[in-house]
């Protein structure tokens, strides 16, 4: 191969890779820019905290924000302990080729690919009707929990598996019991990975529309208990944009709040992850 053609090849590859990377950034910036352009002027503290009026064209999103927090709270409250438990079971309590482990992994992979509207119908049938919870924040949160469990478990399992065997052997050599090993060695070491999984799960929960419209419902009143129906931010955006004439400005402002919330969660969790790592890397 001549020297020149090697140069062309090298520059060509570099250019293509740079172009690909730039094109990934453009939609993100475009989206944020569009939201800011259309939503910023409608955004204010009173918008964030007051109740919607005239089908959401006027007023704010206070009760909707509250419902969203409760739905996501129920979801993570159920999904995190169950997810951690299952991930520990898969990585610490069974061999990689254990029958039950393989069954769980297989079903999780299928669940992770199920469209969210199917979770919505499932949640409506199981939680709202069969268990009699009706349209409620609890039904919505539990449905979301089923949806984010696969993400949580698979990321958590991977982070536990990434911990070197020597650490477990050292713990065993010191005579530490399995629960102590998990608490003092494995959980801290896996924490950055667990945070990434948790953030992905939180993001999916916050942004969900289809799974919630038939479970937590459409009511935009301030929720008084977990048995009340409550509209989530994403459902509100969908309704304003697709069903309410003149709802666009508030749809943009609501979307801005949602994206802002997700950005804050992302930044916060990566901040914790870096702090955690630096705290746990003691000088030798």
């Amino acid at each position: 191969m001549s020297r020149q053609s090697r140069h062309v090849q090298e520059y060509g590859t570099t250019a293509i890779i740079w172009m690909a990377a730039t094109m990934v950034v453009i939609p993100f910036l475009w989206l944020i820019g569009d939201l800011l352009w259309n939503g910023w002027t409608h955004l204010s503290w009173s918008f964030v905290f007051s109740a919607p009026q005239n089908a959401g064209r006027e007023g704010g999103i206070g009760p909707i924000l509250m419902s969203t927090m409760l739905i996501v709270g129920v979801c993570m409250g159920v999904a995190v302990p169950m997810g951690l438990g299952t991930a520990l079971f898969l990585s610490e309590y069974t061999r990689h080729d254990h029958v039950l482990g393989r069954l769980i992994r297989g079903s999780l992979d299928v669940l992770a690919g199920v469209p969210s509207i199917v979770f919505g119908l499932f949640g409506n049938a199981l939680f709202c009707q069969a268990l009699g919870l009706g349209f409620s924040i609890l039904s919505g949160g539990l449905t979301l929990a089923c949806m984010v469990l696969p993400i949580l478990i698979r990321t958590a399992e991977e982070s536990f598996r990434a911990i070197s065997r020597e650490q477990r052997l050292s713990a065993a050599a010191l005579g530490l019991s399995q629960p102590t090993t998990i608490r003092t060695i494995l959980l801290p070491a896996a924490m950055p990975g667990l945070l990434v999984g948790g953030t992905l799960g939180l993001g999916r929960a916050f942004a969900e529309t289809a799974a919630l419209i038939f479970t937590s419902g459409y009511v935009d009143r301030m929720p008084e208990s977990l048995m009340d129906s409550g509209r989530s931010l994403a459902v509100h955006i969908y309704d304003l944009a697709m069903n309410v004439a003149g709802g666009n400005p508030n749809a943009f402002a609501t979307a801005l709040v949602l994206v802002g919330l997700l950005l804050i969660i992302n930044l916060f969790s990566s901040w914790i992850a870096t702090r955690w790592t630096s705290l746990n890397q003691l000088p030798a």
Binding site: N54, A55, G56, V74, G77, V78, P81, M82, L84, G85, T86, L88, F89, Y93, Q129, L133, G134, F135, L138, L142, A172, G175, S177, Q178, P179, I213, F214, G217, Y218, V219, D220, R221, S225, L226, M227, S229, D239, A241, M242, N243, V244, A245, G246, G247
Partner: protein, 283 residues
């Protein structure tokens, strides 16, 4: 150690699971079904849901101790939920069908449906036959009906939407005859689709379309049989394609249901109906 401590190994995931289960049960137990408030669950038509939500809020403020929960999902779902007891009242943005005559329907307002085009489309009116021809795929180019030389994009409503049923009934079509390029759900979605495509044709609720057209969205409402598509012609009953917004119950309404339905038909909610761009019952 690794091999001998079988007990904690086997017990731990089970314990974690039991704790989770316990948490859920505790959560459930904390909130017994609240019987102190009188509650109505209303589900159905997404066209009606914003209106009935607003009516519900006003009703709650006038009758303390009542709760009106409105859920959207389409007229068919409203009817189904009333039949299987999930909802006290269903919302259907159409008249009840003959096979639904075991249900009780009460009209609370009217809505017109009309054909919309992009405002850059030079066509000002279409005959019923032309619209029918476009929707069954006989006419595929605007040139045929006196417009520009451009292919027509047919926007149709999704199955289960009462606007679709009304449209099919008026033009005596079956949904299988329609050659649609885009299938949409809610009204605003239809308007956004047509506003974004100069060669598209769609049909939506007149109130919503009129609001958007006067607020700078590039769409035009076409007259039907030479009658302009306005809220006024719907109110007068002259516009040919209109539908009643109906509240549906399983039995003859009584108690809180009756109080709410009477309220929804009263002049106390006329301003709410007008604010959602529908036509109140009288005057």
């Amino acid at each position: 150690m690794n091999k001998t401590s079988k007990m904690p190994r086997a017990r731990n995931p089970a314990t974690v699971f039991l704790i989770c289960l316990f948490c859920v049960c505790a959560l459930l137990g904390q909130f017994p079904a609240e019987a102190k408030e009188e509650q109505l669950v209303i589900t159905g038509s997404s066209t009606m849901a914003p209106l009935v939500s607003e009516m519900g809020k006003r009703f709650e403020s006038l009758h303390t101790g009542t709760r009106i929960d409105v859920q959207a999902g389409g007229s068919s779902r409203g009817i189904a939920d009333v039949l299987n007891g999930l909802a006290d009242i269903g919302m259907a943005s159409r008249a009840l069908k003959a096979q639904e005559n075991d249900l009780y329907g009460v009209v609370i307002a009217h809505d017109g449906v009309t054909v919309i085009l992009h405002s850059n489309n030079p066509i000002q009116a279409l005959t019923d036959d032309q619209i029918k021809g476009i929707y069954i795929g006989v006419i595929t180019n605007w040139k045929t009906v006196g417009g520009l030389d451009a292919p027509i994009t047919v926007v149709n409503k999704a199955e289960g939407r009462s606007t679709l049923e009304l449209f099919l009934h008026y033009f005596t079509l079956s949904n299988r005859d329609i050659k649609a390029h885009v299938v949409i759900g809610d009204n605003e979605q239809g308007i956004k689709t047509v506003a974004g495509n100069p060669h598209a044709i769609g049909y939506v609720s007149i109130g919503t379309a009129q609001y958007d057209a006067t607020h700078g969205v590039p769409i035009r409402l076409l007259p039907l049989r030479n009658i302009p598509a306005t809220l006024k012609t719907v109110r007068e009953g002259t516009f040919p394609l209109s539908r009643p917004l109906t509240l549906v119950t399983k039995s003859s309404p009584a108690g809180l249901m009756k109080i709410f339905i009477d309220f929804a038909r009263s002049s106390q909610v006329h301003d709410l109906i007008l604010k959602q761009y529908f036509v109140p019952l009288q005057g």
